[in-house]
């Protein structure tokens, strides 16, 4: 378009000036020429008139006017055109005007008074044109163009263009997809060289400085931004070779949903690509993106501009990703609705991703010394090292994953290593894994994960938990510390739709007895409301150890019990049906201390402790008993209480022997608020903590 224009401008000028030159021969002092309407392809000039006043043999004043001119897009139409050249050189081999004034009013860029100069040499047909001081979008534009036999070149220099005006212009032209408002200035230098109608090389240098800008929805916004863009373009056959460089040292940029703070981590990007206008495709030879301390990557591939999924092939090599910058800037915004939405991260990552046939084909991830920690404290891993290989198709890929330490909720995990293999949408454990849990080990013999886009992922585990010391576990969970060991066969762990069910049985050897956990089921363990169902059986618990551990007051004897259908939400019990009592055939020594009696009655709704302390019974340190026990059916926050046997208006919590000293503890409250019950229990064990040993 520009070549057309310059060529035709040259042509028009030539005609007019030649006419002048011819008329000079007749020694006329001045010439007025009315050309009327002049048209060409895509342009027209109305009422074109020229006036030439000769000063000497070679010099004349030239005035050219036209009422209207219609120019090819994007130049629109202009009115009141007036070219005033007071001192034009009109010689046999050259026509020139070094100081001319061009006045016109454009429907695109408003009224203009432009300093201009031009020259044309007949011998080599060299045309030169300068336009300066064009007011454009709050700034100034100057144009320098030359055309000669070997080709033409065009230089545009624009300074102080106002960002919002330029953006509005680009949006109106359909170049910018959104309208942008804000304050900022843009400076552009563009050079273009070509031959005839064909540009061959170009160079663009643009600098944007903006204190603030944003589109209407705030999806694209910047503050205190300083961007520098340099690009070179060269034609090669049917394609365009482009190389460019972008750097931003200052300010913040938000491209929904990614926020980049360039004041903290400057951005530098370079690219080389070929643009094939006939195929509407880009061959990306290199795209290098560097943000020190955050990410450094290289990409190449082939893009189809018009396709819905632009990527034909693309390979991205993340040479170095540095946390937390990589997560905070580039990962977190995409993970807002997942369990990974709020992490503290540290460490490094390298990765290779490859897209083929418009889909992700393979991924290799190499985290190094990576630490992730959920800010809601649900999980965390430290010293993560992995070699993760995945491919959508083809043979099995092997991956390794190891961590030095981790935790799930408050249960710490020790150093562990997993070897897995994957194919398409399934992952399988290659060899049994050992995950250190406190001082024990979770041995996972089998693990299979199936997932597919759009369907629920599910996995299956066969494993074994080697004994874990209860004192470590209870300490980790912040419970009163007690000895014993937890172990279990967990042959059939299934996960589906976020629900985890555990077949088999977990065994807790504790207080010289056994507690078995069965029918364990976990729903959405990492969600807002984790739910847990489990049945528990306790056999042959030694009460002396138990009461010593919980500082409850000494009780001797054994205890059996059951907790059926325990249901917990957010790790707090909602309902269960529990009963604990002295086993019917228990032959052990049955003694209960005065302190224990006091405590039982204080929590069980009994009515004896006060009486006990005041009566002669206080002379006894402990009492023999026949049976003791308590049951609670929890529902709707209320515990329906029971004991070992019914009593008048209540139930026996402790039932005496026939021989004195006889002592019965009778509970009268049949409905107890669960929260109060728990806080009473906690208060009792805390209060007694220092006393009882």
């Amino acid at each position: 378009m520009i070549t057309d224009r310059s060529a035709r401008t040259a042509g028009l000028l030539t005609v007019i000036l030649l006419a002048g030159a011819v008329l000079t021969a007749d020694a006329l002092e001045s010439v007025n020429l009315k050309l009327g309407r002049v048209t060409g392809p895509g342009w027209s000039v109305d009422e074109l008139e020229s006036r030439l006043v000769w000063r000497d043999a070679q010099r004349a004043a030239l005035l050219l006017t036209a009422t209207r001119a219609r120019l090819p897009e994007p130049f629109g139409s202009i009115a009141g055109l007036q070219l005033d050249c007071p001192d034009a050189l009109i010689a046999a081999d050259e026509v020139a005007c070094s100081r001319a004034r061009l006045v016109f009013s454009s429907d695109r860029i408003g009224p203009q008074q432009v300093r201009t100069g031009f020259s044309y040499r007949f011998s080599d047909r060299r045309l030169q044109l300068d336009l300066a001081n064009i007011r454009l979008d709050g700034g100034r534009l100057s144009v320098h163009a030359t055309q000669a036999a070997h080709g033409w070149d065009l230089t545009l220099q624009a300074d102080g263009l106002q960002l919002d005006a330029v953006a509005a212009r680009l949006a109106a032209a359909g170049i910018l997809p959104v309208r942008i408002d804000g304050t900022g200035t843009l400076s552009i230098t563009a050079e273009l060289q070509g031959k005839a109608a064909r540009p061959e090389t170009g160079r663009l240098s643009a600098r944007l400085e903006s204190s603030a800008f944003s589109d209407a929805e705030g999806r694209l916004a910047g503050e205190n931004l300083e961007l520098q863009l340099d690009a070179d373009v060269a034609a090669a056959g049917t394609r365009w070779r482009v190389s460019g460089e972008l750097s931003a040292q200052q300010g913040q940029l938000y491209i929904d949903p990614v926020f980049v703070d360039m004041a903290k981590t400057p951005v530098h990007a370079t690219t080389r690509f070929d643009w094939h206008p006939d195929q509407r495709r880009i061959s990306l030879h290199a795209f290098d993106y560097d943000q020190p301390g955050t990410v450094s990557l290289h990409a190449d591939g082939r893009l189809d501009i018009d396709a819905s999924s632009m990527i034909e092939t693309l390979s991205v090599d993340v040479r170095e990703g540095v946390f937390p910058g990589l997560y905070d800037t580039y990962f977190q915004p995409w993970l807002i609705n997942t369990v990974l939405a709020d992490l503290d991260t540290e460490g490094k990552l390298s990765a290779q991703l490859y897209w083929q046939d418009r889909g992700l084909a393979s991924v290799r991830l190499r985290p190094e010394g990576l630490t992730i920690h959920d800010r809601e404290a649900r999980f965390g891993f430290g010293g993560l090292e992995a070699q993760i290989d995945w491919a959508a198709q083809g043979p099995l890929r092997e991956s390794q994953l190891a961590w030095e330490q981790g935790h799930v909720y408050r249960v710490p995990l020790g150093p562990s290593q997993l070897q897995v293999e994957s194919a398409g949408s399934s992952v399988r454990l290659r060899e049994p894994a050992r995950i250190a849990v406190l001082d024990g080990e979770l041995q996972v013999d089998e693990f299979e994960l199936e997932y597919a886009p759009g369907t629920a992922s599910r996995w299956h585990v066969d494993g074994l938990l080697t004994p874990v010391s209860m004192s470590d576990l209870t300490r980790a969970l912040g419970w009163p510390e007690f000895g014993g060991r937890l172990s279990g066969m967990i042959p059939d762990v299934n996960y589906r739709d976020g629900d985890l069910s555990v077949g088999g049985m977990l065994l807790v050897r504790v207080f010289d007895g056994d507690i078995t956990l069965s029918k364990l089921r976990l729903a959405q363990p990492l969600s807002v409301v984790p739910r847990l169902w489990v049945d528990a059986r306790a056999t042959n618990i030694d009460l002396e150890t138990l009461t010593r551990t919980f500082s409850f007051g000494r009780i001797e004897g054994r205890l059996d019990g059951r907790v059926d259908e325990l249901y917990m939400e957010s790790w707090r019990p909602v309902s269960f049906d529990a009963a604990f009592a002295t086993p019917p055939d228990d032959k052990s020594r049955h003694r209960i201390s005065q302190k224990a009696v006091d405590n039982i009655s204080s929590i069980g709704g009994g009515g004896l402790s006060g009486a006990l302390s005041r009566s002669f019974m206080r002379f006894f340190k402990d009492f023999p008993y026949d049976r003791l026990g308590l049951s609670c059916r929890l529902e709707n926050g209320t515990c329906e209480m029971g004991g070992v046997a019914p009593a008048a208006n209540g139930y026996y919590i402790v039932k005496s022997r026939l021989l004195p000293p006889r002592l019965d503890v009778i509970g009268y409250a049949d409905r107890v608020d669960w929260d109060s019950l728990v806080s009473q229990l906690v208060a009792v064990t805390r209060r007694q903590g220092a006393v009882v040993k």
Binding site: Q332, E569, S676
Partner: protein, 201 residues
């Protein structure tokens, strides 16, 4: 005699049938009250009811205090006999936990409700209304808050429905809350209609 008994029996059957029908209806009033209790706590307009202090030993002699739902149940019964059995329990551990998290998060969200950056949606959630009102660096923080709040609100509605033995009420509970979040909000906050257009309260 016989002619008299048959209508009587029919009347009784009708009455029984009517009773059954009443229980199926969603307890709209009770739901509003339950929603208001939670919302006022979250908004912090009135301090949360103090937790029952750890019971002193002598409290064992007092008649056992029934949990709150029975007391409210009684009130509801007086007000609206038809809904006597349909009071909504909101005293499960999960609901308490959700409410506590939302109360805490509300302190971070409140300035954004006031500025108009965040508004209440017609389906009982919240949304970024105008992110140009947020500083660039805060946008993803606020988006994360909004996502977490919506996650908790969704869980809360489901939890209330589930805790009351009617998981199918979730949609109606959500609708009730949607209205009450707006009604209890101070003037100046923004809310959206079903068509998605924003209005300022």
């Amino acid at each position: 005699m016989k002619t008299l008994r048959i209508p009587m029996a029919m009347l009784l059957m009708l009455f029984a049938a009517a009773c059954v029908t009443i229980n199926v209806y969603f307890p709209a009033e009770a739901a509003e009250k339950a929603a208001d209790r939670i919302i006022k706590d979250v908004y912090g307009e009135q301090p949360a009811a103090p937790r029952e202090p750890a019971a002193e030993p002598q409290s064992r002699f007092q008649p056992q205090v029934l949990p709150a739902r029975y007391r409210y149940g009684l009130l509801d019964w007086l007000v609206s006999p038809a809904h006597a059995e349909a009071d909504l329990s909101v005293n499960t551990p999960a609901i308490s936990q959700l409410k506590a998290d939302m109360e805490q998060r509300h302190r971070q969200l409140a300035p954004h409700y006031t500025s108009g950056a965040v508004g209440m949606t017609h389906d009982g959630e919240i949304a970024i209304r105008d992110q140009t009102l947020l500083a660039l660096k805060d946008r993803n923080t606020v988006k994360t808050l909004v996502a977490k709040e919506n996650r908790d609100r969704g869980a809360l509605y489901a939890e209330i429905a589930r805790a009351n033995g009617h998981p199918e009420w979730e949609g109606e509970i959500r609708q009730t809350f949607a209205r009450r979040w707006v009604d209890n909000a101070p003037g100046g906050w923004w809310y959206s209609s079903a068509s998605g257009s924003w209005k300022q309260k």
